[in-house]
C-alpha cells in the first residue's frame, strides 16, 4: 500500500445529495400542510406523490448517509446535533408533534374530518381509504398511514445503520412486518369483509378498549371470525404472551412486534440516548408505571362488571366515567401526546417506560418468570457507558456490566442496542436456565456478590 500523502479524503458527514433529500421530504410535508390549510387542491395523485416523495426522501437520505460508510456504530455527533441533544430544533419538533397529536385526538375537524365529506388533510387520504376498504378516511386512517410509513422508512434506515448486526436487522424487519400487515392492512381488510376492525397483535391491556361493551358486542355479532378474535385476544394475554415471555423475555413483544415499540425503535432511534438514567427517573418510573397498570386493571374490571351485571356503578363509581378518564389520561394524553410528541425531549420510549400497562405486565413476567437475561462477559467491561447511554429504557446497564452481573430487569425490552454499541463485546441477550440468573462473574470481582450500592432494583 502506498505511503504517499494526499490519496486519502474523508467525506463530510452530510453530503449535498442528502440535503436535496431533506429538501424533497420537507417539500412533501409542506404540501400536505398546504392541503390541510385548504390552500391547494387535493386528489389521489397528490396523495400518492407526496407519500412517495416523503418515503423516498427518508430512504434516500439514509442510503446516501449509511451505504458509503463502513458497517459499524454510527453515533458521531449525536450530542452535537440540535435535534438529538434537546436543542432548539428538538423543542420545535416536539412542539409540532405534540400539536399534531392534540389535533388528532381532540380536533379531528381541524384536520378536515367531515361527516358530509372530508376536506383538508383527511380529505387528501380519502382516495387511499376508499381503495383499501371502501369507506372515506378518518383522522385515524391518516395517522395509521403516516405511522406505518414512518416505521417502514425509518426502519429501512435502521437496517442500513445496523446492517452488520443480524439481530437488529431481523428484529426491525419483524416490527416493519407487524406494523404493515397486522396493524395497518389486516384490520382494513377485516372491515372490507364486514368484520370488526381488529389488530390481532394489539392485546389488552395496551388495547384498553378490548373489553369495552361495544367491542365485545361487535365481536360477538361478527360470527365465527369475531368469536375467534375475542378468544384469541383473551388467549394472547393469558397464555400465548406469558409463554413467549417465559422463553424469550418481553422483547418478543416490545421490540419485535408492538407498534409503539416499532415506532420508538425506528423513527425514535435518534432519541434513544435522551432517556434519563438517574435514580430519580427510576423512582418516577415505579410510581407511574405500576399505578397505571393497577388503574387499567380496575378500569377493565369495572367495565366488565357493568357489562355482565348491567349496573352502571361499581362501589359508587361510574365505570363509564372510569373508562373515559383512562382513555383521556392514559390512552390519549400519555401514550399518544407525551409518548410520541416528547420523543425529542425525553427519549423514544417514554410511554413504554413510564406508562404502558402491557410493558408493566410483561415486565413482571420477565423479572420473575422468564429465561431471558443480558449476560455480562466476565471481566471485560471498561465502564465506558455506551450501553447505559443508548439504553432507551433508562437502565444503567453499566452498573451491572462493570460488576460482571447479568442484567435481569423488568423494564428491559431486549432491543439489543446495549450489546451492539459495546466496544468490547461485553453484553449478550440470552435465554437459558433460570437458576442463578442474576449471578455475577467471578472474573469481574468489582464489588460483586453484594447488595452494596445495588443499582436500581426491580
Amino acid at each position: 500500500m502506498s505511503n504517499k500523502p494526499g490519496s486519502y479524503r474523508i467525506p463530510p458527514v452530510i453530503q449535498t445529495p442528502q440535503h436535496w433529500m431533506t429538501a424533497a421530504g420537507f417539500a412533501a410535508l409542506a404540501y400536505m400542510i398546504l392541503v390541510a390549510l385548504h390552500l391547494v387542491p387535493a386528489n389521489g395523485w397528490v396523495l400518492a406523490s407526496t407519500l412517495l416523495v416523503l418515503s423516498l426522501s427518508i430512504a434516500g437520505f439514509a442510503w446516501l448517509g449509511h451505504a458509503r460508510r463502513l458497517p459499524g456504530i454510527h453515533h458521531d455527533g449525536i450530542w452535537f446535533s440540535s435535534l438529538s441533544s434537546r436543542g432548539l430544533v428538538a423543542w420545535l419538533a416536539a412542539a409540532l408533534l405534540t400539536f399534531f397529536y392534540c389535533l388528532l385526538y381532540w380536533k379531528g375537524e381541524w384536520l378536515g374530518l367531515r361527516t358530509e365529506g372530508n376536506v383538508g388533510l383527511v380529505g387528501l387520504f380519502d382516495p387511499l381509504s376508499h381503495w383499501l376498504k371502501g369507506h372515506p378516511a378518518s383522522q385515524w386512517f391518516v395517522y395509521g398511514v403516516l405511522y406505518t410509513l414512518a416505521i417502514l422508512a425509518f426502519g429501512f434506515k435502521f437496517i442500513l445503520k445496523y446492517r452488520h448486526n443480524r439481530y437488529q436487522v431481523l428484529r426491525t424487519l419483524s416490527t416493519m412486518f407487524f406494523q404493515l400487515a397486522f396493524a395497518f392492512l389486516l384490520p382494513e381488510f377485516f372491515m372490507r369483509m364486514n368484520l370488526p376492525y381488529n389488530d390481532l397483535k394489539n392485546m389488552w391491556p395496551l388495547n384498553y378498549y378490548f373489553f369495552d361493551a361495544w367491542n365485545i358486542d361487535s365481536l360477538l355479532a361478527a360470527g365465527g371470525a369475531g368469536k375467534f378474535f375475542l378468544v384469541f385476544g383473551i388467549l394472547m394475554v393469558l397464555a400465548i404472551s406469558p409463554t413467549l415471555c417465559f422463553f424469550f423475555g418481553k422483547r418478543w413483544y416490545c421490540s419485535w412486534v408492538c407498534g409503539c415499540g416499532g415506532l420508538a425503535e425506528t423513527a425514535g432511534d435518534p432519541f434513544r440516548h435522551l432517556s434519563s438514567k438517574s435514580t430519580r427517573a427510576w423512582h418516577i418510573e415505579q410510581w407511574l408505571l405500576y399505578p397505571i397498570l393497577l388503574f387499567s386493571l380496575v378500569m377493565t374490571a369495572g367495565v366488565l362488571y357493568s357489562y355482565f351485571s348491567g349496573q352502571a356503578q361499581l362501589m359508587g363509581i361510574s365505570t363509564a366515567s372510569l373508562r373515559a378518564w383512562y382513555g383521556f389520561a392514559v390512552g390519549a394524553a400519555f401514550s399518544g401526546i407525551v409518548g410520541v410528541g416528547f420523543y425529542p425531549l425525553l427519549g423514544s420510549r417514554v410511554w413504554c417506560r413510564f406508562g404502558c400497562p402491557m410493558a408493566a405486565l410483561l415486565g413482571i413476567q420477565q423479572k420473575f418468570f422468564s429465561r431471558f437475561r443480558i449476560t455480562t462477559n466476565g471481566g471485560q467491561c471498561i465502564s465506558c457507558g455506551n450501553c447505559s447511554s443508548y439504553c432507551e429504557m433508562g437502565i444503567d446497564v453499566r452498573a451491572y456490566a462493570q460488576r460482571g452481573q447479568s442484567v435481569v430487569r423488568a423494564s428491559c425490552v431486549g432491543c439489543g442496542i446495549c450489546a451492539a454499541v459495546c466496544p468490547r463485546g461485553v453484553l449478550r441477550l440470552e435465554n437459558g436456565p433460570r437458576l442463578n440468573r442474576e449471578s455475577s462473574s467471578p472474573l469481574a470481582s468489582s464489588i460483586h456478590n453484594s447488595s452494596f450500592n445495588h443499582p436500581q432494583g426491580a
Binding site: L70, H164, R424, S445
Partner: protein, 447 residues
C-alpha cells in the same frame, strides 16, 4: 478510626476505595485527584469528543453516591508527601494526615525529546485536561498528525475522523500495532485504518516538529525528508508511570513504584496500585508494569482485601484484554505474541468477506491451548478462562468451540470454517460438538 488516603481516582484507586468501604465500614476513606473530582471512565474519553456521550455519562456512579458511601472526593494536587510525619501537602495549602497511603497516580504520555515537542498544538491524550485541550485546539486543525501506532493513537485518529479532520498517522513498525499483534491481524487493522480514509504511514518515524511564528506546530518532518503540514500533533508513543514527582525520595522506584505481591512499597503503610506500580516479581509471562484498565481494577480490589486484613497476594489470573480499532472489535485471552514463540502452533481463520478472524494458539508438544486472539468476533470470557486455566487440549477446545461464542443471536456460526482451518493445517478431522445453548455453557462452567 484509621484514615486511608488514596492519591488518584482512576479505576485502580476507586476500585480500592469502593471495595475497602464494602469490607471496612468504619474506615475513613479519602480520594484525591487533580484531574477531576469524580471517578470517570478514562477509556471512554474519546466518546465525549466524538459526541457519542456527554462528560457526565462517563461517570459510572452518580455523584450523590460518594457521600452516601462515605468516600471523600478531594479535587487537589498533592504537592508533597511527608513520609515521616505521615502528612500530605496539597497545592491549595491544606495539610492532610494519613494512616495508610495508596499511590494510584496512573501514567503520563511518553515523550522522547523530539525537537519542537513543546510547541503549541502538540499534546498527548491521556487526561480530562488533554481532552479539553484538544477540544480547544480543534477549530484550528486542518490536518492532524499522530505519532505512534498504539491504542491511544488510533483513538485519536478515530476522534478526528469523526470531526472530518484529515489525519496522518506515523507508525514506526511495519504494521499498525505489530509490536503486539501477529502480523495478519496487524495487517487487517492497517488496511481498515486506510479504508477509513486515514493517511497511515508505516515504517515512518518522527524526526522533528516545525513551528510557525506563533510557536504553534505547523508541520512535522520524517527522517526520509518528508514534510507534512499539520496544525496538531498527537504524541501517542505509549505511556509510563506517573512518578517523576516521587523520585529522589525515600520511596523505592524503578520504572514504576516498586511493590511486592501484597502491593506494599518499601515504606510501611504506603502502597501502590495500577499503572504507576511495578511488581518486583511479576507472575510468569506478565510484565512488571501493566498499564491496563483490568489490571488496575484487579490491583485496587486486591489491595482493599489486604487492607481489610484478608491477606491476598496479587494474582493477575489468565491474561485478557480488549480493544476496538475503529469498527473492529478485538479480544485476547491467554498469550498471543507478535511472532509465535517456538514450540507453539497457531490456527488462523479469516472471514472471507469481512474483517473477522479467530486465532487459536497451542503448545505443539502437549497440544494444550495457550492463547486466543479475536478480531471482529466475541468470545465468552469465562469459557476461555477455564480452558486456559485447565490447559485444555486444543482439539477439545475446537470441538466445543461453540461454547465460547458470544456474538449476538443470529450471528453466523464460525465453528465449521475454523475446524476446516485446523484440518487444513494438521490434516486431522475433528467432530464438531453442537452444544451452544446457554444451558450447555453453564453446565460446562460448573463442571
Amino acid at each position: 478510626m484509621p484514615r486511608t488516603v488514596i492519591i488518584g481516582n482512576g479505576v485502580a484507586g476507586i476500585s480500592c476505595a469502593r471495595k475497602l468501604r464494602q469490607l471496612a465500614v468504619e474506615e475513613s476513606i479519602s480520594v484525591i485527584s487533580s484531574e477531576s473530582e469524580y471517578f470517570f471512565s478514562r477509556t471512554a474519553l474519546m466518546y465525549v469528543y466524538m459526541g457519542h456521550m456527554r462528560w457526565q455519562d462517563l461517570e459510572p456512579y452518580e455523584r450523590q453516591s460518594w457521600p452516601q458511601q462515605g468516600i471523600e472526593c478531594i479535587l487537589a494536587r498533592v504537592a508533597k508527601i511527608d513520609f515521616d510525619e505521615r502528612t500530605l501537602m496539597l497545592d491549595n495549602g491544606q495539610k492532610m494526615g494519613y494512616d495508610r497511603l495508596i499511590l494510584a497516580t496512573g501514567s503520563v504520555p511518553n515523550r522522547f525529546g523530539w525537537p519542537g515537542e513543546e510547541l503549541r498544538g502538540v499534546t498527548g491524550f491521556y487526561s480530562k485536561q488533554d481532552l479539553e485541550h484538544i477540544e480547544l485546539l480543534t477549530p484550528g486543525i486542518r490536518r492532524a498528525v499522530i505519532v505512534g501506532g498504539g491504542l491511544i493513537g488510533i483513538e485519536l485518529a478515530e476522534m478526528f475522523h469523526s470531526r472530518n479532520i484529515p489525519v496522518t498517522m506515523l507508525v514506526r513498525e511495519q504494521q499498525y500495532w505489530s509490536s503486539v499483534l501477529p502480523v495478519e491481524e496487524a495487517q487487517m487493522i492497517s488496511a481498515h485504518i486506510r479504508n477509513k480514509g486515514i493517511d497511515l504511514r508505516l515504517g515512518v518515524e518522527l524526526k522533528e516538529l516545525e513551528g510557525d511564528d506563533d510557536s504553534r506546530v505547523c508541520a512535522v518532518h520524517t527522517p526520509e525528508g518528508d514534510r507534512i503540514e499539520c496544525n496538531f500533533v498527537g504524541l501517542t508513543a505509549g505511556v509510563r508511570p506517573n512518578i517523576d514527582w516521587l523520585k529522589g525520595g525515600p520511596l523505592e522506584t524503578d520504572r514504576g513504584i516498586l511493590v511486592d505481591s501484597l502491593l506494599r512499597t518499601n515504606i510501611p503503610g504506603i502502597y501502590a496500585i495500577g499503572d504507576c506500580a511495578q511488581l518486583r516479581k511479576p507472575s510468569e509471562g506478565r510484565k512488571p508494569v501493566e498499564a491496563v484498565w483490568y489490571s488496575g481494577r484487579k490491583m485496587g480490589e486486591c489491595l482493599a482485601l489486604n487492607l481489610a486484613g484478608r491477606e491476598t497476594p496479587y494474582d493477575p489470573g489468565i491474561w485478557f484484554n480488549s480493544a476496538k480499532f475503529f469498527d473492529i472489535e478485538h479480544q485476547v485471552y491467554g498469550s498471543i505474541l507478535p511472532t509465535p514463540s517456538p514450540g507453539t502452533n497457531s490456527i488462523l481463520w479469516n472471514h472471507p468477506a469481512s474483517d473477522r478472524s479467530i486465532r487459536i494458539v497451542y503448545d505443539t508438544a502437549t497440544g494444550c491451548l495457550t492463547g486466543i486472539n479475536l478480531m471482529g468476533v466475541r468470545f465468552r470470557h469465562e469459557v476461555c478462562d477455564k480452558w486456559l486455566r485447565e490447559k485444555t487440549q486444543v482439539e477439545h477446545v475446537l470441538s466445543n468451540i461453540r461454547l465460547a461464542f458470544f456474538d449476538p443471536e443470529f450471528f453466523p456460526d464460525f465453528a465449521p470454517p475454523l475446524l476446516e482451518a485446523y484440518s487444513k493445517k494438521t490434516g486431522r478431522q475433528l467432530r464438531l460438538h453442537s452444544p451452544d445453548k446457554l444451558s450447555d455453557v453453564l453446565r460446562f462452567l460448573r463442571s
